[in-house]
Point group: C2
Chain length 753, copies 2
């Protein structure tokens, strides 16, 4: 048995013998040995803007349940007084409910709605009044529990794919279960609710405007909530906006909350909620199941019933735990500290949250843009933060979970069918057009070239060409005309250097796929296009630099401008240093531009030595591995990766360097701890560094790969510097390995000095 | 054929030969002779606060369609700048749509929602921008049409019981059909909408807070709209409230209208609507059917389909016309001018609008207070403005439409079953608790004593006793303790004199029913209670006067205070004069208090001579008839009634004296023109005056009445003073006639001097 408490490691707790008391029930998954799922600490990333949440979710589930503690001025990080993108912050102390759809590790606020909240005694509907401090938080894969101070009430949470499940242990006396449909992390408003019976509620809540964009694409999440005990009394509250006109004088109720007792008709409003009230003669537990859907209330009900009917809280938790453990067990690590295993498996856990399923149990999902309801036999995935995830997350999926990756690719192609465009930052079938570049092409190429081909590659290629070549009305590649004609975007466009680089990387992938498909002309064309960043290389600075529309350099230029996400001319969420080496497909060319191995190495090392490297954002996260491109300098990569892991990834709430970016930071950690990294997005190859475990065993899918497993062994040495790499006992002369080689090898042995 | 135009009588129009041109199609009901329904002029009451609307409704229909011209400062009577209770005002000129549920002749704003509006050219969603002037209005029973100036578009309207139907004749070019769910007469907000297909929309709109009361009882009206032609493009607009917080700086869309193109998901909001857009290559018509329900969207759809599927606009209009004509034909009048017939049949039409059906075609309706869905085999009626209608409207129903009246009584008793209380001012299964008194008892007693007994009279009596005797927590009779102990309400209560009088009248009915049921004790008890108003009689003033809690007279007392609906201590919507004679059940006692026939007559006449009589409100509307209680003074009644009819009731928009009060003013006119009046509410008797037609023939229901018809003939004389009354050729010595006598008589002959 194993649980993780946010303030101390599970083993300390076990020593203290307090876990059983905290958890309130005996886990059925007590086992002699820790299982991978037991290492998951969902509190990692809940501070330091990691933007994860500690509540339960099933792998790639649509529903999740998160404690919600970002409302109310009692909290230092308050959702309405700043740009806050998560429903839970570890340092906060004032809890106002449990939200049932949530985004993990994103940088913009959305979802965080359908807030269930138990209270006792009199009915209060204002969260500032009913919110409470709390203690004894416990979080594990598929489970969370907390004690609410004000109410002497314990809340336990679990979830199946489409259903959030709560078990609330009330004291004797008057109790209420509030479902607040006004409060939420999203900045959208508007909900509808109907109490169906004393044990059931149905309705919807509007969400959307992710990153304060595309308000016209705001959309509903539908839900059905079922309660294990019928409410003695129930009702709806509604706080309409205050009316200012002449008639206000006759409206004694103007701006006040209305309690609509016994209401069973549809109520809509921006600030509404339901209450189910009880009078318990002894302490009692109530289980609440909230099924969700993005299609309809009917589907939400079907999801709830098919997934959880007849199942207890513990049944559902056990199923979800088992699902987590099965998936996480595909990678077995040996050696390393408990904390190492914890950060590793928690990172792997975080890569299995998004993309998540959008389809209901019956296969239905809202299509993107068409307004139609689509249907899938597999899984329709959503939440594609592709600017982040094209760099490593999908590569991890292709290696360990190819059956998921292929459905992700198919989902992207279906989006093209529906919308006319591949996704960029897709969220619940809305295209948020956040960030820059054209990353879908990279993900699809990367997948295909790794031998995962059960998708319509012709259509995918057609889709790539559309975004690469259509100059007018191209939502994916703004300023494409400049890019094609000049080779780069100018200062008239947003982040012209970064965007040029992103287009280059995408074009490289298109070239690779063209080649694989036998299209030599396109191969040549896009290979050439992929190198156009070189026109932005300023030899004086040894850096990329923005150019004006007339071709002159942008002046005055400060290469440091843009650090810490500040806005600047030239770069997106970064500065010239953080983008200088983001040419993974042309490191040789870059070295040449810079004057060869030595200046390249010096310039790269300077980034680390002068603290210009930013572990918290994607553009430079592959930099430490770039030393592998210089013979004899690989030790720098080995040292740096280890240092960065130790510095930024910890078994604590601040254990992520910043936004997890839907698992991208976590995927970096997983690869880095296993000892290799997909250094060129789109290209089926990896570069090797020091594994952080004695042994890593990756289960491979026989459908796609020659071997059923890959073992990586680390031998000898404590300094972490690689002496020798053997692939199947054959010494390798390279720090690079192709995907085919990797998945055909049975064992890779890394011997340290 | 016959139609009524608001500005000139139909016959003038016929002479001008312009009607066919105006109406745009050939009516199928062209007949040699005018039918009763042809006399209906729905414009009557659309000015002078009559609060009727000119749009079509089927008899007692749930749906109706009214032109909506009360929004926008262009209109002199603007809904948000004053207390305005109707969707249409004849003097207004700026039309912003056609509302699909409406109240007729009420004093408080509610309903007036589901606004359909055709526009052409570019899409505008703000009614102040898309509103238009209009011309060529035509209104008849079941039909309305108008030409919209800005759009060169003709709108024709009709309705079946649950469905409003529009036929819109568009010019060639771009056109839009807007369904605005934000704008409305009601002061409630909040709607939900979902575009089901390019020909169908479903949703709901919140209504309620009638008279700015009981906001917690706000409730939805559900709808389904079907369009005869599929939209080429469609979408939803949403104008959220402006956000004031820190995040507003990131919301470029803050407070702006969003056009959600192609939206097929549920949208909720306070200010939302849908647009269906077309591009017509030639002039085209689109028919729109909007079915409504107070139970569910499914029921709204079933109502729409069962009532109108496969039927054209003209089919539906013909059915509704026929229903109107059949009901109106139960009273045939001969002689009198065309205007006399017009005001008579329009008044009868106005008595057949409310109460209206609340149940769907499948019998379902929302129960009052329980939150449950009830089911009826008959008709569940709603909109009981009983403080008004107990005085004459239900008496008219019992006489001419007893099959409706019995369902109204059954509906009231069902409300008692559901709610624990009989209704007072019931509106769509909400009790608005508007006005004072306990009028349901009077209506039920009146019905029973007229031989209409197919309801559970025991339960009804039990319900009456509850409201008459339950001192604590009695929502129908506040201050009942004072009333029972002191005989009157004191100045600590609202309108203490009026309310005492209302309780007296109700108690008199309870006494009558107790007697009929053989309960002598109750008979005596309530008969005694019914006379307690006498304690408020101030002999010095010869008027009723409020008393303080200590029994002293309220000082300083101004008997004129309260005229024209001003608030005052003592009386509800009236003054001491307007309530002085409101003791219909004890006129003999009142005469005695006043000192006999002469002072009584003098005091009564003074009211008319000094312009204290108010025809626009209910308390004193029976006053002219009270002269019949003084032998030899009946001529005053005859003169006054005729004068009042001529002065206040006209074939013009200002042809009602004020609020029609759901047909009460109209019922007054119908009775007054027929020559008799139900002078004592609750008591089965009438008093007789001069008929205003040569002959009136009332069809009687053989199920309840001995004769199949009653004929009232007026003979000779032009001065309108009655010389002789003969019942079945037998001279009558009385100006009073019992209900039994009336319905057993075949013919009543009134000979004038």
């Amino acid at each position: 048995m194993n649980t993780i408490n946010k303030t101390s490691s599970v083993f300390n707790q076990l020593k203290k013998g307090i876990i059983l008391g905290l958890c309130g029930f005996v886990f059925q998954n007590i086992q002699a040995q820790e299982q991978p799922a037991d290492y998951v600490n969902p509190f990692i990333g809940t501070s330091n803007y990691g933007a994860t949440y500690p509540g339960p979710i099933a792998p790639r589930g649509m529903a999740s349940v998160s404690p919600f503690n970002v409302a109310g001025p009692q909290n230092p990080l308050e959702k309405d007084s700043q740009w806050l993108s998560n429903p839970y912050v570890n340092e906060n102390t004032f809890l106002t409910g449990f939200s049932h759809v949530n985004l993990s590790g994103v940088g913009c606020p959305d979802l965080g709605v359908l807030l269930l909240m138990p209270t006792t005694r009199g009915l209060k509907t204002n969260h500032l009044e009913y919110g409470t401090t709390y203690k004894n938080e416990v979080a594990k894969a598929g489970y969370y529990s907390v004690d609410l101070d004000k109410y002497n009430t314990k809340v336990e949470l679990t979830a199946s794919e489409h259903v959030g499940v709560s078990r609330i242990s009330f004291p004797k006396g008057e109790s209420n279960l509030l479902l607040n449909l006004g409060l939420g992390l999203t900045n959208e408003q508007g909900a509808m609710v109907k109490i169906v019976s004393p044990t059931e509620i149905e309705g919807m809540r509007t969400v959307g405007s992710f990153c304060y964009n595309s308000p016209e694409d705001a959309y509903p999440v539908y839900f059905v909530a079922k309660f294990s005990k019928p409410a003695e009394t129930f009702g709806v509250w509604n706080t309409p906006d205050k009316y200012d006109g002449v008639e206000a004088q006759w409206m004694g109720y103007n701006g006040k909350t209305r309690i609509m007792e016994n209401a069973t008709k549809t109520v809509v409003g921006d600030s509404i909620g339901t209450y189910f009230s009880y009078k318990f003669e002894k302490p009692e537990t109530v289980e609440v199941k909230i099924g969700v859907s993005y299609v309809s209330i009917e589907n939400a009900r079907e999801n709830l019933e098919k997934e959880t009917q007849g199942k207890s809280f513990e049944d559902i938790y056990q199923e979800t735990y088992t699902k987590w453990n099965t998936l996480l067990s595909r990678i077995q690590v040996e050696g390393g500290s408990q904390d190492d295993k914890t950060i590793f498996y928690t990172a792997l856990y975080h890569t299995l949250i998004h993309p998540n399923m959008l389809n209901d149990i019956n296969g239905e999902y809202p299509e993107i843009k068409t307004g139609k309801i689509g249907k899938t036999d597999g899984t329709r995935y959503t939440v594609f933060s592709l600017w982040d995830t094209y760099r490593n997350l999908h590569q991890l999926m292709s290696l360990v979970y190819p059956e998921q990756q292929v459905d992700m690719v198919n989902s992207m192609i279906d989006m093209y069918d529906e919308n006319g465009w591949l996704p960029k930052w897709e969220l619940n079938s809305t295209e948020t057009f956040t960030m820059v570049g054209d990353p879908a092409s990279i993900v699809i190429t990367d997948t295909y070239l790794k031998g995962i081909k059960d998708f319509d590659v012709k259509k995918a290629y057609e889709a790539m060409l559309k975004s690469a070549d259509q100059i007018e009305n191209n939502p994916l590649r703004p300023a494409l005309k400049d890019y094609i004609e000049k080779g780069y975007l100018t200062t008239e466009s947003k982040g012209p250097v970064s965007t040029t680089q992103e287009y280059n990387i995408a074009d490289y992938s298109i070239a690779l796929l063209a080649k694989a498909l036998g299209n030599k002309d396109d191969y040549k064309r896009f290979m050439k296009r992929s190198l156009s960043y070189r026109k932005l290389f300023d030899k004086d600075l040894n850096l990329l630099r923005p150019r004006n529309a007339d071709g002159t350099w942008y002046e005055p230029f400060d290469p440091d401008a843009g650090a810490n996400f500040t806005e600047n001319v030239g770069f997106i969420e970064g500065n010239a240093w953080q983008y200088a080496f983001m040419e993974p497909h042309d490191i040789k060319g870059l070295k040449k531009l810079m004057g060869g191995d030595k200046p390249f190495t010096a310039q790269l090392q300077k980034i680390f030595d002068t603290d210009k490297f930013d572990m918290a954002n994607e553009p430079d996260i592959a930099y430490p591995y770039l030393f592998n491109y210089v013979k004899g300098e690989e030790y720098r990569a080995q040292k740096l990766v280890k240092e960065l892991v130790r510095k930024h990834f910890k078994n604590s709430p601040d254990g992520l360097p910043g936004n997890d970016d839907t698992g991208t930071m976590s995927a970096w950690l997983v690869y880095s701890m296993m000892g290799f990294y997909p250094i060129v997005p789109g290209e089926p190859m990896y570069t090797i560094t020091t594994p952080m475990f004695d042994k890593v065993t990756i289960e491979l899918d026989g459908k796609y790969y020659e071997q059923n497993e890959l073992v990586i062994e680390r031998n000898n040495g404590n300094n972490g510097i690689v002496k020798e790499i053997k692939i199947n006992d054959k010494k390798s002369n390279s720090y690079f390995i192709s995907h085919d080689e990797l998945t055909s090898a049975k064992i890779i042995k890394v011997t340290l000095e």
